[in-house]
């Protein structure tokens, strides 16, 4: 650790991993309801379990991004953070809000109350008071990192990271706009959801990857930074108008079918570029960094993001295809692999890189961590395949043959059983990852290693 204030990141990563555990256990529970629909159906209905699964995902990914920013910005800017104290205040607010949201959902407290009750639009269900807390925490965060960068060295990595994080926070403000007109509601809801995951978050992901490759491969900064700009340019040039692939069937004009199809098809480009770039950097790099697990996660993130976000996204993005697949298990398959590849893996990569440094345990050989990579990645891949098959069958029976949703659902039971098995592998991998990060003090060191 070069700068004392980087220690802040340790607590962010710790909190992120705790919420990660909640997220995957929630997923396992939700997956089990698919297999056995009567499982505690009155105590914890599917909608509540799913809210916890998706909200916990978003919260821990953001905690990871915040931690990543607090870790890498001091190194990039070459100075201490503006205020470590404010960073801890920010973390406290976020954790309080998270706990508040979970308790509100689980016990359905203050139903209908404008300030305290659950809001009920997908992914932004947080009660208004939690949303306000998120905004306050975000402002503290932006103040903290922006001042650190402004007073220090400015690099392409910090420029892109800051742009992504500022964009992310500003777009969240649309969560406060909820018109009575469902079509308008949906149109601006995508300003948050799409422009996060297919816009600003890609900037955050690319800058974290660039930082990791710089550290792990020792490739010249000029080259890494030039490619960073090129990659994020392709991400935004395709991603902004790519929003159109959500505007096919919600009451928006028909021209979005062409705008959305063309530009969202191009969204494959940045993910392909990130993958190619990562491998080329590793081949060209002369440094043999001892943290092989971090390298595995970084390359894994770039690769699985290409398949999950790029290939599986393209699979159903053209409007002629999407007309039939929209809102089926195909979407679920894509969603799982895209989030895992792009954002879960990049978070686990930076955590794998930073935690040994933050806890004074580097360098060491993280065999358990690497095992967790294969468990999680294998599990997610299998889950994606079975959901894709389930979605294909569903699309044909429901959208082409016009059969009833509930009858088809019963016929897909075998797929859901296999999905649950895949989910169990992912959960095992996730818990193993957390164990590997926190518990072992000493691990097997290879003969020619350190």
């Amino acid at each position: 650790m070069k700068y004392q204030s980087q220690k802040v990141a340790y607590w962010y990563f710790l909190a992120a991993m705790a919420v990660f555990a909640v997220q995957v256990l929630g997923g396992l529970w939700a997956g089990w309801i698919y297999v056995n629909p009567n499982f505690f159906s009155e105590l914890a209905p599917f909608n509540v379990v799913r809210m916890i699964h998706t909200n916990a995902l978003i919260v821990w990914l953001l905690l990871g991004f915040f931690g990543a920013a607090y870790f890498l910005i001091p190194e990039e800017a070459e100075r201490e953070l503006q205020s470590p104290f404010l960073a801890y205040v920010q973390l406290g607010i976020l954790l309080l809000g998270t706990a508040g949201a979970v308790v509100t959902y689980a016990f359905d407290l203050f139903n209908g109350n404008w300030l305290l009750g659950m809001e009920g639009r997908e992914f932004i269900e947080q009660p208004v008071w939690v949303k306000l807390g998120i905004v306050v925490a975000a402002l503290i965060f932006l103040y903290n990192i922006s001042l650190t960068v402004l007073k220090g060295r400015k690099t392409a990595i910090t420029n892109v990271l800051l742009l992504g994080l500022w964009g992310l926070v500003l777009l969240f403000l649309f969560a406060f706009y909820n018109p009575a007109n469902l079509a308008l509601d949906k149109m601006f809801w995508w300003y948050i959801v799409h422009l996060w995951v297919e816009g600003t978050w890609e900037l955050v992901m690319a800058s974290i990857l660039a930082f990791l490759l710089l550290k792990l491969t020792g490739v010249d900064r000029e080259i890494v930074e030039k490619w960073l700009y090129i990659i994020v340019a392709t991400a935004l040039f395709s991603g902004i108008l790519g929003t159109g692939h959500h505007y096919y069937w919600i009451g928006t004009p028909g021209y979005w079918q062409w705008v959305g199809s063309i530009f969202s098809a191009l969204e494959v480009v940045p993910f392909f570029a990130m993958m190619s770039f990562s491998f080329v950097m590793v081949w060209k790099g002369k440094r043999d960094h001892p943290n092989k697990a971090a390298l595995l996660w970084a390359l894994g993130a770039a690769t699985v993001a290409f398949f999950g976000a790029g290939v599986w996204g393209f699979l159903h993005t053209l409007h002629g295809v999407n007309y039939y697949t929209h809102g089926t298990q195909i979407t679920a398959a894509h969603g799982h692999l895209a989030f895992f590849g792009a954002y879960v893996s990049v978070n686990l990569a930076i955590i794998t890189y930073a935690m040994p440094i933050l806890s004074g345990r580097d360098p060491y050989n993280q065999v358990l961590n690497m095992a967790s990579f294969w468990l999680m990645t294998g599990g997610m891949a299998f889950m994606t395949f079975v959901l894709t098959f389930a979605g294909t069958v569903q699309t044909h029976l429901q959208r082409v043959m016009g059969e009833n949703f509930m009858e088809i659902a019963e016929g897909l039971h075998l797929f859901y059983l296999m999905r649950w098995g895949a989910g169990a592998a992912v959960v095992t991998g996730a818990l193993l990852f957390i164990y590997a990060m926190l518990v072992p003090r000493r691990e097997v060191i290879s003969k020619n290693g350190q």
Partner: protein, 150 residues
């Protein structure tokens, strides 16, 4: 590549291009809002009852099981076209009656079947919900979904 493009050039392309695409996106957004308000949705029939229905829909987190216009969870049927599936698009009274009967019969308790919770809605709320689904059914969705199964 090094000769073709420098880091500064890449940076300028990124910033300039991003502003260009944001500008196009904003222009199309403004046009789309106009389209929604004037053409694709009926703002005259967007009554207080419909709005109440939307709030009921939200405060019970319906979207985390169902989809509406294809968006939401994929655990329970699409509801954007539920009133046409029930064949009551032109019959608000009938829509209310069918929905009330449905909501009050939950949870079914049938073994092996996905369960919908009992939300204990008042008649006013059920009426609002029915009006909301009827109104959503009138949105011009470019012909989606392909059939009544949703």
């Amino acid at each position: 590549m090094r000769e073709v493009m420098t880091k500064t050039m890449a940076r300028n392309v990124f910033y300039g291009g991003t502003l260009f695409f944001i500008a196009i996106f904003l222009v199309l957004s403004v046009q789309s809002v106009g389209h929604i308000v004037k053409n694709s949705t009926n703002t005259a029939t967007l009554t207080e009852e419909v709005e109440l229905g939307k709030r009921v829909w939200e405060r019970h987190s319906c979207v985390n099981c169902h989809t509406i216009l294809g968006e939401g969870a994929y655990f329970a049927p699409e509801l954007g076209n539920v009133m046409s599936r029930w064949d009551v698009m032109d019959d608000p009274e009938g829509a209310f009656d069918v929905l009330k009967g449905w909501m009050e019969a939950q949870p079914s308790g049938i073994e092996g079947r996905r369960q919908m919770p009992q939300f204990n809605l008042s008649d006013e709320e059920i009426k609002g919900l029915a009006e909301f689904f009827l109104w959503v059914g009138t949105i011009d969705t470019q012909g989606w979904p392909p059939n009544d199964a949703g």
